[in-house]
């Protein structure tokens, strides 16, 4: 069994300030973890993925995430938010069984 909890349904930051989107997971297996982004009226796009290599994963657009097994967390961060980062972000856990489980999503708002 696997599950994902995104701890914040909405996050609002000012442009130029750091972004933190929190994700906790549960999995019976060594999981693969992903972050996807969905811009308004656009499809889902992969931001980054963790697959048991380096625990600090760098993705597109300056985002990164750190896998912490002891805390079962995979939080997404960015040092400085841009207006274009405003979107819905999904944390995803995947097992060898093929099923990817999505969190409920976090809406990121960036204020000028």
């Amino acid at each position: 069994a696997q599950s994902v909890t995104q701890l914040d349904s909405h996050v609002s930051v000012s442009e130029g300030t750091p972004v933190l989107l929190r994700c906790n997971y549960s999995s019976s297996y060594s999981p693969s973890l992903f972050w996807y982004v969905q811009h308004p009226n656009k499809g889902l796009q992969l931001l980054l993925k963790y697959t048991s290599a380096a625990t600090l994963v760098k993705g597109i657009n300056g985002f990164e995430a750190e896998f912490k097994k002891s805390e079962t967390s995979f939080h997404l961060t960015k040092p400085s938010a841009h207006m274009s980062d405003a979107a819905e972000y999904f944390c995803v856990v995947s097992s060898n069984a093929g099923k990817s489980t999505f969190g409920d999503g976090t809406t990121l708002t960036v204020k000028p």
């Binding site: 297996y29 999904f90 093929g98 969190g103 409920d104 999503g105």
Partner: protein, 116 residues
């Protein structure tokens, strides 16, 4: 094709009618997935295919929902006797194959279904 293609992009139907949603995955991708996204909510897993077989149908909401895949390529999701609660965006994704680490999903733009 270059990306995952879904059709129709928008479908409005009357309660009780049947609908078919089509997904054309990336060429060479053996795994295909269907998800449903209701307004303001996350993605709900429906079913996935490895080749033409569906090892996990646990996400299908009811027996009104069915899916098939032929030739290891195109998939069709069929909803019979549609209900208003079926209104959602139906997303299709494909990946090279099923397996941890390889499950990078490439999504289509979705089919928005509205049941009146």
């Amino acid at each position: 094709g270059a990306g995952v293609s879904q059709s129709p992009s928008n479908k409005v139907t009357e309660k009780g009618k049947d609908v078919e949603l089509r997904c054309d995955p990336i060429s060479g991708h053996t795994a295909l997935y269907w998800y449903r996204q209701s307004l303001g909510q996350g993605l709900e897993f429906l079913i996935y295919f490895q080749g033409n077989s569906a090892p996990d149908k646990s996400g299908l909401p009811s027996d009104r929902f069915s899916a098939e895949r032929t030739g290891g390529s195109v998939s069709t999701l069929t909803i019979q006797r549609t209900q208003q609660e079926d209104s959602a965006v139906y997303l299709c994704a494909s990946s090279l194959y099923v397996g941890s680490g390889a499950n990078v999903l490439t999504f289509g733009a979705g089919s928005r279904l509205t049941v009146l």
